[in-house]
């Protein structure tokens, strides 16, 4: 098993004249903790959408555990082990926290099409759901509807649902977006509990989270991967500083991972 968990090759996407993804290539090994940073409008979310199957790339390929999924639907990619969370909470707001988790579990277990089963008797799945809820500190609000719980808890529920699907590769799209500083640590604690063998691509703005979580970092600017390396190397580079401080970079030292 030498193949990468996720391998992205020469991915390109244009919106009219604008190249939002420009010949992006990288690989995630099993258990990777890779972060993708970049200023607003760099094309981070567009890239995630192409990886998860929401958007179709114009060129290039996405290979998940050796299977080319470039032309597969988002749902089929989930079935093959690609999970994701959303920058803007995308949950079942009128259902309870536990129902959100259990729904994902029952889809994964393949029992969601069986109208003769009683959900409350699926002991093993329920226990697993309770464990996941406890892992992310959601055990206190399992019976509340999602719209009633705090924003921080909703962010954690996003990750909990992704975990319930037991993904091989997990895309975390700004998991702490919109959270006050005080609540970011609970998301970080949640991220630390993700299974070690899961390959994770973290899209993040917050350098503190990147430093805490990632072992490798890449910088995306104007749809192009510009730099990659350890957090220290990348975060302290001139290019990152100039990009984040708003100074336009003129030439880039391009390094494809």
């Amino acid at each position: 098993m030498t193949e990468a968990a996720l391998s992205v090759r020469n991915l390109s996407k244009r919106f009219g004249e604008l190249a939002v993804t420009n010949d992006v290539s990288f690989e995630l090994e099993r258990g990777a903790r890779h972060a993708l940073i970049g200023p607003n409008g760099a094309g981070k979310s567009t890239l995630v959408h192409q990886l998860s199957g929401v958007l179709k790339p114009d060129a290039g390929s996405v290979v998940l555990q050796g299977i080319d999924v470039t032309s597969m639907s988002a749902r089929d990619r989930v079935a093959l082990g690609l999970g994701r969370t959303f920058q803007i909470s995308n949950l079942f707001f009128k259902l309870t926290v536990f129902e959100n988790i259990f729904m994902a579990l029952s889809e994964r277990a393949g029992i969601s099409g069986k109208p003769w089963l009683i959900a409350s008797r699926q002991k093993a799945l329920i226990e697993e759901g309770e464990e996941i809820a406890a892992t992310f500190g959601l055990d206190g609000c399992m019976a509340q509807t999602v719209s009633e719980v705090s924003y921080g808890e909703q962010r954690l529920l996003e990750i909990a649902i992704a975990m319930a699907l037991r993904p091989k590769v997990l895309l975390l799209d700004e998991p702490a977006a919109g959270l006050p500083k005080s609540e970011i640590s609970s998301v970080l604690n949640g991220l630390a509990l993700l299974p070690a063998e899961t390959a994770i691509l973290l899209i993040e703005h917050d350098m503190h989270i990147v430093r805490e979580f990632a072992t490798t970092v890449a910088l995306l600017v104007d749809g192009r991967l510009e730099l990659s390396g350890t957090p220290r190397e990348v975060l302290e580079s001139e290019l990152v500083r100039s990009v984040y401080l708003g100074a336009r970079h003129s030439s880039g030292s391009r390094a494809h991972a």
Binding site: R75, F92, S106, G113, P115, E130, A143
Partner: protein, 333 residues
């Protein structure tokens, strides 16, 4: 049903998912028996209410639970009615097997149409379902060699239930026969709603796009739902044909599709008992209003629908909930 899940010691998760039977749920069935023994003048009205409750329940799964609005549900009601009627007319007058066959046949029709309808969402789905209903209506009107056309399908009668209970003009057999079927189907629906599939239906309603991204086979879920919902609507239609020995071609009309939707909204969507409350309230008002104001009863129904939409959340059942909460608060104060 999931009684063990509510027992002390059951885990929190199991309790959140459990939908245990409550003693209050006996009320409609006791009320039905009371009508049977004490108000036998109303058995015909009662039987048609039972038929409509089953029909409204079938729509509640589709519209109330999964959030798929349709203006063509009469198509399945009519298909079941004609299937049962034609079976009886052509020699298969045993009611139980006749109803099962009509149900299965309608479910097959519903599955085939569901394969098409599952591709559509929102307004496109509403309009297509309505168009399919209209095609069935015109088809049934024109195929008078088969359906009796505008005169309806008549000249058939059902064999006694279990070979024993004859269908009298007083309607005792018809009432209990319909009630027994409603009970059977209701228990099945109650289980469905408490199943992972029932939860997935709510997921489709709440966030269709997200369902795909938790790996749900959404198309398959929707087609399965159409199969079940159309089968139940077909069973209601078959009950109607068997208990009245008549099928009006208007079973296919858009009035029937819209009517059952109005009943469901009046009663409360997505909670099963809304179907009971809505049908009973609607048909009682219809019955009384059409006596006093035969030309204006639609006006009264319309005013009622407006009142429900403007002043209550969740129809009659929502109102009952609100009243119960206020009562509880006063009790605890």
């Amino acid at each position: 049903m999931p009684r063990d899940a509510t027992a002390p010691g059951a885990s929190i998760g199991a309790r959140i998912l459990a939908q245990p039977f409550s003693p209050v749920e006996v009320i409609p069935w006791l009320a039905a028996l009371a009508v049977f023994f004490l108000a036998s003048d109303y058995l015909a009205l009662g039987t048609s209410m039972i038929v409509m409750i089953l029909f409204a329940l079938s729509l509640d799964l589709l519209t109330g639970y999964a959030g798929i609005v349709t203006l063509g549900h009469a198509l399945y009601f009519g298909t079941g009615a004609y299937a049962a009627g034609l079976l009886a007319k052509h020699g298969w007058s045993e009611p139980l097997t006749g109803l099962v066959m009509a149900t299965v046949f309608t479910a097959i029709v519903g599955t085939l149409l569901g394969i098409v309808l599952a591709e559509l969402r929102g307004m496109a789905s509403i309009m297509t379902s309505m168009a399919l209903g209209l095609i069935a209506y015109e088809g049934a009107k024109n195929a008078s060699w088969l359906t009796g056309g505008d005169d309806g399908l008549q000249g058939f009668s059902m064999a006694p239930v279990f070979g024993v209970f004859r269908w009298s003009v007083y309607g005792h057999t018809a009432f209990l026969y319909a009630l027994a079927w409603l009970l059977v189907f209701f228990v099945a629906i109650r289980i469905l709603v408490a199943s992972p599939f029932g939860l997935a239906l709510k997921g489709l309603r709440e966030n269709y796009g997200r369902m795909q991204l938790i790996g749900a086979p959404v198309r398959r879920h929707v087609i399965e739902l159409y199969a079940i919902s159309s089968g139940l609507a077909g069973a209601a239609g078959a009950l109607s044909a068997q208990t009245t020995s008549f099928v009006d071609v208007n079973v296919f009309s858009i009035d029937v599709s819209a009517g059952v939707l109005v009943m469901l909204v009046v009663g409360g969507l997505g909670r099963l008992y809304g179907a009971f409350a809505g049908v009973i309230v609607y048909m009682l008002i219809h019955n009384v209003a059409s006596e006093f104001a035969p030309f204006y009863w639609m006006f009264i129904i319309g005013a009622m629908l407006l009142a429900v939409v403007l002043f209550t959340r969740g129809g009659v059942m929502g109102l009952i909930d609100a009243m119960r909460r206020t009562f509880m608060r006063k009790q605890s104060a």
